[in-house]
């Protein structure tokens, strides 16, 4: 029986892959997964992700869709395969257990380029037995697509603005407003532009500052992840924006990522700012009331 696995679309596949690299600082891990990793490993590495859709699996004529509907749970213990099977509330339906059965240690192949085809096929199959859940999925997708377009337009228009630290701009106001309105869906669209450096560096840097400044607990973990991830950007200007965002966010979780970033940082001025920020974060952790 041939087995193929696909991620919903290129963006999510990429984010998923990046998350693994970020989580474990071992991008090679994905290459192993890509070829023949046990599913248990995939799930372990996926523990910090916040994607709604985990993947679509084909085994023979049968298709299964694995969904997680929870935001990133960075404090959760790493889930084992057995534990995931019990987490019915993390999925729209019982697909995870079904999809995982008998697939451990079998080769997987990621088909992100066929995303839409996979999605329609999987959706059709799911619709037959899971009407209500599938409708929920559709609504979620439509909302996310609209958000993508808005966010892309926002980043494009912002190229004409000149930003100043501490001063709100039309861009920052709209960015914060989108995140408040669309939550993780907006964050996914923003992360797509930022992680793949598909927008102007100055705009990205500005966005990261405000991602850190804004107070919005429902997206806190996603924003934290994006800022930590952006410390690895190829652009020093973007890394500086991420650093400032993390300074505003004041989450001690970032300390590990900052330490790693300091080790790798080639730009002397930026490295010194990272060290200062890390020291402040450490002192804040030591004296949380200050």
């Amino acid at each position: 029986m041939s087995t193929e696995t696909g991620i919903l679309d290129q963006r999510q596949a990429g984010l998923w892959r990046d998350s693994i690299a970020t989580t474990d600082a071992a991008s090679q891990r994905f290459m192993i997964v890509d070829q023949s990793s046990p599913w248990t490993e995939v799930i372990k590495e996926h523990a910090e992700m916040s994607l709604d859709t985990f993947g679509i699996m084909y085994h023979g004529d049968e298709v299964s869709l694995i969904l997680r509907r929870v935001p990133m749970v960075r404090t959760a213990a790493t889930p084992t395969l057995e534990r995931l099977r019990q987490w019915e509330h993390l999925s729209v339906h019982s697909a995870p257990a079904r999809a995982l059965e008998g697939l451990e240690n079998k080769p997987q192949r990621w088909l992100s380029s066929h995303a839409s085809l996979l999605w329609s096929h999987a959706y059709k199959k799911l619709l037959e037995g899971h009407q209500e859940s599938a409708e929920n999925i559709t609504r979620m997708e439509v909302r996310a697509q609209g958000t993508d377009e808005k966010v892309e337009a926002l980043f494009e228009v912002a190229m004409d603005e000149i930003f100043e630290d501490g001063v709100e701009s039309q861009f920052s106001r709209q960015l914060v407003s989108y995140i408040r309105s669309y939550g993780d869906a907006a964050m996914e669209a923003i992360a797509d532009l930022i992680v793949y450096e598909r927008a102007n560096q100055e705009v990205i840097s500005e966005a990261l500052r405000w991602v850190g400044v804004m107070d919005h607990p429902p997206t806190h973990n996603y924003r934290l992840w994006l800022l930590e991830r952006s410390l690895q950007s190829s652009s020093a200007r973007v890394r500086d924006g991420a650093l400032l965002g993390l300074v505003y966010l004041e989450d001690p979780h970032a300390m590990t990522y900052l330490k790693r970033a300091i080790e790798k940082e080639q730009c002397g001025e930026l490295r010194r700012d990272m060290e200062t920020s890390l020291a402040q974060l450490e002192s804040k952790t030591a004296c949380p009331s200050s």
């Binding site: 630290d165 501490g166 500052r209 400044v213 300074v247 730009c267 001025e269 930026l270 200062t276």
Partner: protein
């Protein structure tokens, strides 16, 4: 030797490997935006005794507590380049800062502006006050009566004194 201060965004002044010796990123000129060929700067005593007060005043014009990146460069370097330097009233909530320490570098040509950028990049001092430090400076200025709390953005007011916000 007295200094001049210009608020900048530090990352626009990073020395990238592809820059020529002593060169600046072209984007650094975004921090030297002129109006009627005038560049607004702030006078800093040679012992930097008024530096923190000026930084607090600049931060008090913001919408929220933020880092303040700035460049310091010698006033004499401007005079050596025949750049006209005028004392004018500034626009910050701290009256003494506005009245005493605001300067205009005027009648600037594009060439002179590029020379200012080069001066900042090669012999200037570029630094950052972290948001936490800025918050402390703002609080001190308000407590000392140098900045009226009512002139601050409500978000800043709330951040430096949650009871007032």
């Amino acid at each position: 030797m007295p200094l001049l201060l210009r608020k900048i965004r530090k990352s626009r002044w990073y020395k990238y490997p592809w820059l020529e010796e002593g060169g600046s990123q072209a984007d650094a000129l975004l921090d030297l935006k002129t109006d009627d060929n005038i560049l607004s700067v702030w006078y800093i005593e040679d012992d930097k005794s008024n530096l923190e007060r000026v930084l607090a005043a600049l931060a008090s014009n913001s919408d929220n507590i933020s880092n303040v990146d700035y460049a310091l460069f010698e006033e004499q370097a401007m005079l050596n380049m025949d750049i006209k330097l005028d004392s004018t009233k500034g626009n910050v909530p701290d009256d003494e800062v506005s009245n005493s320490w605001h300067r205009h570098l005027s009648e600037l040509s594009a060439m002179k502006l590029a020379m200012i950028a080069k001066t900042i990049q090669t012999v200037g001092e570029i630094d950052r006050k972290q948001p936490q430090e800025v918050k402390k400076l703002l609080k001190e200025s308000v407590v000392a009566g140098k900045i009226e709390s009512s002139k601050l953005n409500p978000k800043i007011r709330a951040a430096i004194d949650p009871k007032v916000g």
